[in-house]
């Protein structure tokens, strides 16, 4: 088992390097000279030459990549062209907002998805199941950003339950901070809730039909015990993988939701950088979020072994 964990962790390295290369290469997809584009019309020839030199854009591609990845490996993502601050520091300041948002969204979605998915499977082909299917199909179809706008409209502007503008961080004032986070997290989490709930339902349905569950019933266990003790653990494996993959959707969705609710997280930082043509920041944000996503999936894969004893981990 330990060996599997070690191997799985080791396997992530080539992927990390390839992802880093793709992010590095992004800047070379800019039509024209990146330094020119970044400085816009205001930059003089000297400014452009200086930027090109400081970003190493005047060197051959492979040298640039090696230099860049060496810096990234030491946690240095360069400086922002706009405010000249180190990007890794700005990311460190903003990431807690995005992490709180995605974590809350995940908690909310699991709380909704797991019980309802199991319930729908237990009551398969009854009205409860049909209602569940209808609700979840709308859940995966409503665009998150529109749901957010509607939530703002109803709960913040009309009912006044949640603040509509401004932001208080959760570290400053926990309860006040939470009020700013609830609506965005629910909005972000509902899509994932629907996806995970459908997955939970179908993997539960598969397990319920298996012989060992019938056996557990035949032993005279109560239905509740059969579901909770025997079926649930085995149905959780595939659902867990979905949860890992869905975390990527949450990170991507956070970019949109932070824009809707004006939350000062990584997504907002990325969007401002895009419109300011601050490409080092764009690179830094995308790289950081992708690595976070890869690490989450690594953890999920390792947890998977615990839930599915059949998987090989030699």
């Amino acid at each position: 088992m330990l060996k599997y964990i070690f191997k799985r962790t080791f396997y992530i390295i080539p992927s990390l390097i390839l992802v880093a290369f793709l992010v590095f290469f992004l800047i070379h997809l800019i039509p024209g000279d990146p330094a020119h584009v970044m400085l816009g019309d205001s930059g003089t020839e000297e400014d452009v030459a200086a930027l090109r030199k400081s970003m190493g854009l005047d060197r051959p591609l492979h040298t640039q990549f090696i230099l860049w990845i060496g810096k990234v490996g030491r946690g240095d993502l360069g400086v922002s062209i706009y405010d000249k601050r180190p990007i890794s520091q700005s990311i460190r300041e903003r990431f807690p907002v995005t992490l709180t948002l995605t974590t809350l969204a995940m908690i909310i979605s699991l709380l909704l998805a797991l019980p309802s998915g199991v319930l729908a499977a237990v009551y398969n082909n009854t009205r409860i199941d049909y209602l569940f299917m209808l609700v979840t199909i709308f859940g995966v179809s409503i665009p998150g950003f529109w749901l957010g706008l509607m939530g703002l409209l109803l709960f913040s502007l009309h009912l006044g339950w949640f603040p509509a503008v401004g932001f208080v961080s959760i570290e400053e004032d926990f309860f006040q901070g939470l009020r700013y986070m609830i609506l965005p997290s629910i909005t972000l989490g509902l899509y994932m809730a629907a996806v995970v709930a459908r997955m939970a339902r179908s993997s539960m349905l598969e397990v319920i039909r298996l012989e060992y569950v019938t056996h557990a019933r035949a032993k005279g266990l109560t239905e509740w015990k059969v579901i909770a003790k025997h079926a649930l653990k085995n149905a959780f494996g595939p659902t867990l993988t979905t949860i890992g993959i869905q975390y990527g959707m949450l990170l991507g969705g956070a970019v949109v939701i932070e824009t809707v609710f004006s939350l000062p997280g990584l997504g907002k930082y990325l969007m401002v950088a895009i419109f300011g043509r601050d490409y080092p920041v764009v690179q830094g944000c995308i790289l950081f979020m992708s690595i976070t996503y890869m690490l989450i999936n690594l953890i999920v894969d390792i947890l998977y072994v615990y839930f599915d004893p059949q998987i090989e981990y030699q």
């Binding site: 390839l18 039509p31 179809s141 950003f145 706008l149 179908s202 991507g252 990325l270 992708s290």
Partner: protein
Amino acid sequence: MAWKRFMEHRIGMIGLTVILFNLFLAFAAPWIATQDPLKIEPKNIASPPSKANFFGTDGLGRDIFSRVIYGSRISLIVSLLSVLAAMVPGVILGSMAGYFGRWVDIIIMRFMDAVMSFPAILLAIGIIAVRGGSLYNVVIALSVVYTPVFYRITRGSVLSLKEKAFVEAAMASGNTPSTIIARHILPNCMAPIIVQITVSLAYAIIAEASLSFLGLGAPPPAPSWGNILSDARDFMMDAPWMTVFPGIAITLSVVGFNMFGDALRDVLDPRLK
């Protein structure tokens, strides 16, 4: 056979009806729209729904009903093109990797894994960030994001079909790999690919709307659903109708594809149910 089972699938038929309705709106937009979706009317700014403007007007006095109707064109064209542009390379690379295995598989797989290591919409945002916001770039970005999905499905199906007797027979009779893949293997793995197409279309509609909403899609005057919603943000308090209708349009068209996709999965691939 499959078609008959599909006809009996109520959810699937609802989905199909919604899709056909959506296609009809897109084709017949010039006849259905009551006004020019780009026409600015300074005297008629942010007016509520009425007989003249079914969905009201926006901040520039443009008719939201007509903009929403024309928006279905952008939404459908972008999603169809990007799914097509993802499916073709995905299926080709997937069948090559599945059929030849070994180093072909390893090289392609590594690359696809790397693309899949990015949160999907984030990669699309990154590509558009450097290439600039336009419908063409949205199609490129979304096709890059969705290619690995088709690749994985095809590769998996090809791997399992390769061991089947009829494929071995085709190999033994001296057919070239491309003939075997095109004639014998691909026709047998169409079911999961077709299901994936409908599901991807649903995703692509949401993705296109989200990108336009962020200002990374079709440039402003274009009546895309995301753009209409992005314009509506400044008028949320006074003119909520601007926000309500385009969102309903997006949701309905996505629901259509999702219902259709679910039904196709039930009918074509009962194992996945």
